[in-house]
């Protein structure tokens, strides 16, 4: 391995999010909201409940980047895990099948139950 590669391997690309509302394992709900504009929250997951799988870091808000703004301050991005049987009523597979995706903090609220 070259020195440069070794250095690259030591330098984590993790983008810290020192201030975050939710922690790994927290139960959350995706807001059931349908605003116009560029959104990275798929429609099929809005209103669904899941569990925080990991905190990805803080990233410029894509909903503002899409319109030429700087997207700052950065928003905390989470990966949220959902049970397929909860997301799709009538899901044909077994109960432990899951779907995960990235949801920005402002799309999440604490789960009601």
């Amino acid at each position: 391995m070259s020195a440069a590669h070794h250095e690259a391997s030591l330098k984590s690309t993790y983008t810290p999010a020192p201030v975050h509302r939710y922690s790994v394992g927290d139960k959350v709900a995706v807001k059931r909201s349908f605003p116009p504009g560029h959104r990275r929250t798929p429609q099929y997951i809005r209103g669904k409940q899941g569990v925080i799988e990991r905190i990805c870091g803080a990233y410029p808000n894509p909903e503002e980047l899409a319109y030429g703004f700087d997207g700052l301050p950065a928003k905390v991005l989470y990966r949220v895990r959902f049970l397929q049987t909860h997301v799709w009523p009538g899901y044909a597979g077994p109960a432990n099948d899951i779907i995960e995706m990235e949801i920005f903090e402002h799309w999440l609220e604490p789960a009601a139950t």
């Binding site: 391995m1 590669h5 070794h6 690259a8 391997s9 030591l10 330098k11 984590s12 690309t13 993790y14 983008t15 560029h38 959104r39 990275r40 929250t41 798929p42 429609q43 099929y44 997951i45 990805c56 870091g57 990233y59 894509p62 899409a66 991005l77 990966r79 397929q84 997301v87 799709w88 899901y91 044909a92 597979g93 077994p94 432990n96 099948d97 899951i98 779907i99 995960e100 995706m101 990235e102 949801i103 920005f104």
Partner: protein, 237 residues
């Protein structure tokens, strides 16, 4: 290029006259079409499958039922059509198979681990997900067709198709079966919608019968489809 509704031969699976522009090198082609309902029955811009699409599917099913071809062979053939671009993904996974410490680094920080091997990713972060005897991972981007191009080359046509993007999220097992991958219910299917800033790489399980293989030989087992999670590596006895 103008197309009439009857111009079926000009129509490819992922070609639904949308505004995807793959001429740029960016690996995150937002297409702003997040108004889709991910249910094929609700597809509004692709229409129902054309007659030739239906005939082609019926022919493939017949040939499979008669044992003339297998779904895996068709997938392999389509992969050959698409595989024009070199990719580093196979080398990265082969290294992970032989080097446990590297695998740990890959799972902890995929981008940094790929950089060790000279694959510089454009995306901020790469999340490597590992297949295990209990879990099978598969990647999709339902909103557009986010894909780690620096690692896997150009995305295959099927990855960009509305059919794959809409169906794999709610009937992943049926879609995997069409790729020749049948999973028992004891294996949980974990679908990853690559919908924002992360990019994903599936680390398949190293097949039995590859003990003592070199990294290079192991890399030869790995196709791009396996690193997206629609197929799994096998060693023919």
């Amino acid at each position: 290029m103008s197309k009439t509704p009857h111009d079926y031969y000009a129509r490819k699976p992922g070609d639904h006259h949308d505004h995807h522009d793959h001429s740029h090198a960016h690996d995150h082609d937002h297409d702003h079409d997040d108004h889709q309902q991910p249910n094929p029955a609700n597809e509004h811009d692709n229409g129902p499958p054309g007659d030739y699409e239906i005939m082609s599917r019926a022919m493939q099913e017949l040939l499979e039922q008669k044992g003339v071809i297998t779904a895996a062979q068709v997938a392999k053939r389509m992969e050959l059509f698409d595989e024009e671009f070199p990719y580093h993904g196979a080398q990265v996974v082969a290294r992970a198979w032989v080097d446990a410490a590297f695998k740990q680094r890959l799972l902890a920080d995929g981008r940094a681990a790929c950089a060790e091997m000279g694959a510089m990713l454009e995306a901020e972060r790469l999340i490597a997900v590992e297949n295990t005897p209990d879990t099978h991972n598969v990647i999709v981007c339902t909103l557009c067709s986010c894909y780690p191009r620096a690692l896997l080359g150009m995305p295959p046509t099927w990855y960009k198709s509305r059919n794959y993007r809409s169906r794999v999220v709610f009937e992943p097992r049926a879609v995997l079966k069409e790729f020749g991958t049948e999973l028992p219910d004891s294996v949980a299917v974990r679908v990853h919608d690559s919908n924002a800033d992360m990019r994903y790489l599936v680390v398949p399980m190293r097949p039995q019968g590859t003990e003592g293989w070199s990294e290079e030989k192991l890399a030869g087992l790995l196709s791009r489809d396996m690193l997206v999670g629609v197929t799994v590596p096998r060693v023919s006895a």
